[in-house]
């Protein structure tokens, strides 16, 4: 068995642009390997931003009129495009030697499972999307109303795709199943970076195909959880699953690692990276 790390260190970051956030996420992975520890940061975006999956074609982004003019950044990870700005965005990194670093699904399920518990603590019923009969469908057969049973890479937006372990919710009014949380990984030589998004509120900065139902829409008359409070409970649930404790840093990751992040940001600002496909 891989050695277990038992402390989750959490940073809270203020809003930054796309390239800075992607650089900070990569820096977090390097730091996780260096410290041999599970690290996590919660962050925001200085403006509505589209993050593209590492292999998505820029031409596909150009076909979506609703996102024209919005800043684009390409992630180091896979998956579909996300409109950031009204979501809860996180990055977590774990050494590859840790049990959670062994395979993509293990880390995915560990963090998403903890989010199911955090949402439940706020009275919200979200469930992991079924994996070929292994995971029971959401209550009231909600998953049955969703025709997709396999990942659909042809969908441009992350929240239009379904993969095992994605979190879905049934709408309070009509029971329609919607994806509210997805994540993606970059598996490096010594660490695994996973970042993702819980769609807390619909993004009013976009319309049409770019706007997806969010937790706030799906809970109907209930108040959606507040971002920081939910993140804090989530961190505690992750630490519990880890068999350890969560420790919050008082300074931001962006400020502590400013120099390293600045050096890495250039790549994510470079059009050769953004337009590489």
């Amino acid at each position: 068995m891989g050695r277990a790390v038992s402390t989750l260190t959490i940073w809270w970051d203020t809003a930054a642009d796309g390239p800075t956030n992607m650089a900070a996420d990569e820096c977090l992975a390097a730091e996780a390997e260096r410290r041999d520890s599970l690290l996590m940061r919660f962050y925001e975006w200085s403006t509505t931003t589209i993050s593209l999956g590492g292999f998505q074609k820029i031409e596909d982004a150009r076909q979506v009129g609703e996102i024209r003019g919005i800043p684009l950044v390409r992630r180091p990870s896979g998956g579909g495009a996300i409109v950031h700005g009204s979501d809860l965005t996180y990055a977590a990194a774990v050494p590859k030697s840790h049990p959670w670093g062994a395979s993509p699904q293990v880390f995915y399920d560990a963090l998403h499972g903890a989010m199911v518990e955090a949402l439940a603590a706020h009275g919200i019923d979200a469930r992991p999307y079924p994996a070929a009969g292994a995971i029971p469908p959401p209550a009231d057969g909600a998953a049955g109303s969703d025709a997709r049973s396999a990942p659909d890479e042809s969908q441009f937006f992350c929240f239009d795709r379904r993969a095992a372990g994605d979190l879905v919710m049934a709408g309070a009014r009509d029971g329609t199943c919607s994806k509210v949380m997805g994540s993606a990984q970059r598996r490096l030589a010594g660490a695994v970076l996973q970042h993702g998004s819980l769609l807390l509120h619909s993004n009013t900065g976009v319309a049409g195909a770019a706007r997806h139902l969010a937790v706030a829409d799906l809970v109907a008359d209930e108040q959606p959880p507040e971002r920081v409070g939910l993140s804090r409970v989530w961190g505690q649930r992750i630490a519990t699953a880890l068999g350890g404790t969560a420790r919050e840093e008082e300074t931001s990751f962006l400020s502590v690692h400013h120099q390293d992040i600045s050096a890495l940001t250039a790549r994510f600002r470079d059009e050769r990276w953004t337009f590489r496909r």
Binding site: M1, G2, F55, G79, P104, Q105, A184, R186, A189
Partner: protein
């Protein structure tokens, strides 16, 4: 899995061919762990890499993983059919699923790679 293979800790395998050329692929353990492969990016023939450098990327439904050169050298051949037929990686990882062929700069680097037994111990000790 044949006994003449060597392995990197990052799960690439190497088979020595004639004239200092070495075939490189991805172990069945790594392919299985990634699941649902959707895209692969391979290097151009003629590119040079040092051992440990990323020479390509592979995307599964949830993850992008780097492919690391197990030895230093020049890419002399690429399995160009592979990105269009990723299922080959799972079906025949040590045969038709080969990825690139590298002309080694320093064959002595092979000595620090793992033999089959050591690699099986490594992956056997990793959590599933």
């Amino acid at each position: 899995m044949s006994a003449d293979l060597k392995f990197a800790k990052t799960h690439e395998w190497v088979r020595s061919e004639a004239n200092g050329v070495h075939t490189v692929g991805i172990s069945s353990y790594a392919v299985e762990a990634l699941t649902d492969l959707v895209f692969m990016q391979l290097p151009a023939v003629g590119k040079k890499f040092k051992a440990g450098e990323s020479f390509g990327e592979i995307e599964s439904v949830k993850a992008v993983s780097d492919l690391y050169a197990p030895i230093s050298g020049e890419i002399v051949e690429v399995n160009t059919a592979l990105p269009g037929k990723l299922e080959t990686l799972g079906a025949d990882p040590y045969g038709e699923g080969w990825v690139v062929r590298i002309k080694a700069d320093n064959p002595a680097e092979l000595d620090i790679l793992l033999d089959r037994g050591a690699y099986e111990s490594l992956v056997g000790s990793q959590p599933h």
